[in-house]
């Protein structure tokens, strides 16, 4: 489904990703961990198509399409969803209106008619229930005045509505208390299925107690330096990142 080969990217001449490789198959959940500044958010931004990052080398294949060739909106319409580390506020635009626009733009891209209003509302209700989203949040302005936890839950709700092939979660756990973390994780777990893949980016192991990954990768200095199964996350929790850093320095 997603195949990243030798990906190099920089911003303002600063090299951030230095030859990153990653294979994600349909239905798999990959966790990407790493110290602050390792390039985790950069990876998510490059995959989503943020314009300020320049890809200097490498390829990204998404379901047979050259992802790097697509505009950010087309990537989204093809099924890439990014849950932002810092969701953006848009005053005066309701969640409902925002999602209706997003869904209909995607349908247009697929050559479909806009969704019937009643179908849309029904879908809203179902997905709200699924991710335990508070109804009052959907009529309010997008993310405006939302608490940190509400913003993150809203990201998951949007993901549920847009039904992507690949969900990228960038530090969705940051700033959440334990209850919010549980709610968000349960939401994600309900969206897991045989077709849908996830890249779960996190600094802490805590989230992975709830969203149990198939694979764990350690990103350091713009490269994946270690991969393993869920137990690798536990090891990192106990030992921190220093031993990995040392390993990398020793090998270079």
């Amino acid at each position: 489904m997603l195949s990243i080969k030798n990906l190099k990217a920089e911003i303002e001449g600063k090299k951030i990703l230095n030859g990153l490789n990653l294979e994600v198959k349909a239905g798999e959940v990959h966790a990407i961990m790493g110290p602050n500044g390792a390039g985790k958010s950069t990876l998510s931004a490059v995959l989503a198509g943020r314009a300020d990052y320049e890809v200097t080398e490498g390829t990204v294949d998404f379901d047979g399409k050259d992802l790097l060739e697509l505009s950010p909106e087309d990537r989204a319409r093809e099924g890439v969803f990014l849950a932002f580390q810092y969701p953006i506020e848009i005053p005066g635009v309701s969640n409902t209106n925002f999602l209706k626009t997003a869904i209909n733009e995607k349908r247009k891209y697929q050559g479909l008619e806009p969704m019937e209003a009643t179908d849309f509302l029904k879908m809203m209700r179902e997905k709200m229930e699924l991710v335990e989203m508070d109804k009052s949040l959907t009529s309010r302005s997008l993310n405006e005045g939302f608490s940190g936890g509400e913003k993150k839950r809203n990201e998951i709700f949007q993901m549920a509505m847009l039904e992507p092939k690949l969900g990228i979660l960038d530090e969705t756990d940051s700033g959440l208390d334990i209850d919010a973390l549980r709610l968000v994780s349960e939401g994600v777990n309900k969206l897991r299925n045989k077709e849908r893949s996830f890249i779960v980016i996190t600094h802490y192991q805590r989230l992975l107690d709830y969203i149990v990954p198939d694979f764990v990768h350690v990103l350091y200095k713009g490269r994946i330096v270690k991969s393993g199964d869920a137990s690798l996350a536990k090891e990192l929790e106990e030992k921190g990142y220093d031993w990995i850093k040392q390993e990398v320095e020793a090998n270079s």
Partner: protein, 483 residues
């Protein structure tokens, strides 16, 4: 995000084609170019006006000659050559128009193209339309149905003949010709416009609407609208306007006067989409309009809503004179400028009666290299006990080469007044656009969404039929404002 990148992404601005820019090929009956007493007499004679009207025009003209163009505005204005303007242009009509069947089909087609159907079968349901083409009113729909309720809705030139006592009593009563340079000019040369009278206790059964179209070259449009709402009556009125694309600037200097008697309410909405000029600032309409309403009676209310997207220069301050005790004035405005457009707009709320109330909500959006100025006056007279005003003034910048300016003026002569002012400036960020993009929403759609969100409070004031149009218009006028 660095500033330079923001400039790169956000400033690949502006290429929207103005879709109302076509011209109508029709035989015109025009005054010779230029302005003189002769021209004033010519226009009055064309309209077959009573003597008092001509006298009034001539007084206005002579007064205008003593004035100089104002220069306090916050934009650059090349000198206007008033002798290079044609002050009267009308489609040649051989017969008096009694029904739409007699309207030149070219004209009907023009309005069809603009989305204004004047033919009885297809007319917008629930909206009566008066269509003004260059200097004359072409047709007014739904007249009979309105007449049943005693509502008068017709061209002002017609009202001069049918209801001279009303016109004589109120014309110039809210905006005297001595008010300013352009109101003097308008009084001298105005050619047509709409007239509305709502009798006591009548709630006008439908929206009234006038659609202004400038077509002829080198002409100015100087219409005059007069709306009188008698005691306990209500009317909602909407004006729309477009013009062909032409390389020279064209002057539009209208006057609108509203009179609200006791417990009457007038809601006046404008969706202004005059040709804004090309992206280098060539051509476009100068929209210099004097709009003022007088809340004459106690508990009366006047509400101005404007969505200003067109014109090379917009220069207007729809205002309320709150004479009646407990009267209420509102001003809701969205002004969008793109490319080289300039807008200096706002309102004046003059509190005279006791317990009067006013509310101002202004949303300015500037893109391209445009400049957008809010200028507003809140004046509370000595005897206006317990006056209240709330002003909210928000600016949004798109790109980094546009400008937003705010000039709120306060003149408070009564210490029981409560006056509040809030202001904000924001920028459509690349972050917001990227967030939308990531959800599958393209950049232009995203801007439309963000801008409509920003203007929601004002758009909500528009009659339903027009709110959707206005939303589309906002999106269209900013098309290309972000690359």
């Amino acid at each position: 995000m660095s500033d330079t990148q923001e400039v790169d992404i956000i400033d690949q601005v502006v290429s929207q084609e103005y879709k109302y820019g076509f011209t109508t090929d029709i035989e015109m009956d025009s005054a010779p170019m230029g302005l003189s007493e002769e021209i004033v007499r010519f226009i009055s004679a064309k309209k077959n006006e009573p003597e008092w009207m001509l006298e009034w025009r001539l007084k206005a003209y002579r007064y205008w000659l003593t004035l100089e163009e104002p220069n306090w505005q916050n934009f650059k204005l090349a000198p206007i050559d008033y002798q290079k303007i044609i002050y009267y242009a009308a489609p040649k009509e051989k017969i008096k128009l009694d029904s739409l069947d007699q309207v030149d089909p070219e004209l009907l087609k023009t309005f069809e193209k603009l989305g204004i159907s004047l033919t009885e079968q297809k007319r917008l349901t629930g909206v009566a339309v008066d269509a003004v083409f260059d200097s004359v009113s072409i047709a007014t729909t739904f007249k009979d149905q309105l007449a049943e309720k005693g509502v008068i809705f017709c061209a002002i030139s017609e009202a001069l003949h049918e209801h001279p006592e009303l016109v004589k009593k109120y014309i110039g009563s809210v905006v005297p010709y001595t008010d300013n340079y352009f109101s003097a000019l308008n009084a001298a040369v105005f050619s047509d416009g709409s007239f509305v009278y709502i009798p006591k206790g009548v709630r006008c059964p439908m929206e009234l609407s006038t659609y202004f179209r400038i077509n002829a070259e080198n002409t100015g449009q100087f219409e005059r609208t007069l709306i009188i709402a008698d005691d306990n009556s209500y009317v909602s009125y909407l004006e729309g306007c477009t013009a062909p694309m032409r390389d020279e600037n064209q002057l539009h200097a209208a006057v609108v006067e509203l009179v609200a008697m006791e417990k009457a309410e007038i809601k006046y909405s404008t969706v202004q989409n005059w040709y804004p000029g090309d992206k280098d600032g060539k051509g476009g309409i100068y929209n210099f309009v004097t709009k003022r309403g007088s809340c004459e009676g106690a508990h009366s209310k006047i509400s101005w809503t404007q969505v200003e997207t067109g014109s090379a220069i917009t220069w207007k301050y729809p205002s309320c004179i709150l004479k009646g005790d407990y009267s209420n004035g509102e001003f809701f405005s969205v002004a969008v400028t793109n490319n080289m457009q300039q807008a200096d707009t706002g309102t004046k709320m003059i509190h005279i009666g006791k317990n009067t109330k006013s509310r101002i909500v202004s949303k300015g959006i500037s893109a391209g290299k445009s400049h957008n100025t809010y200028r507003g006056l809140v004046k509370v007279n000595k005897k206006a006990e317990n006056a209240r005003n709330h002003t909210q003034c928000d600016s949004m910048l798109i790109g980094s080469r546009s400008g937003a300016h705010t000039f709120p003026y306060l003149e408070i002569s009564n210490n029981t007044a409560t006056v509040e002012h809030e202001a904000s400036t924001s920028k459509i960020g690349e972050d917001q656009i990227f967030y939308c993009n990531q959800r599958g929403i393209g950049t232009e759609e995203a801007i439309g969404l963000i801008v409509n969100g920003f203007c929601k409070e004002v758009l909500n004031q528009l009659p339903m039929e027009f709110a959707v149009e206005a939303q589309k218009l906002l999106a269209v006028s900013l098309e290309g404002s972000v690359g």
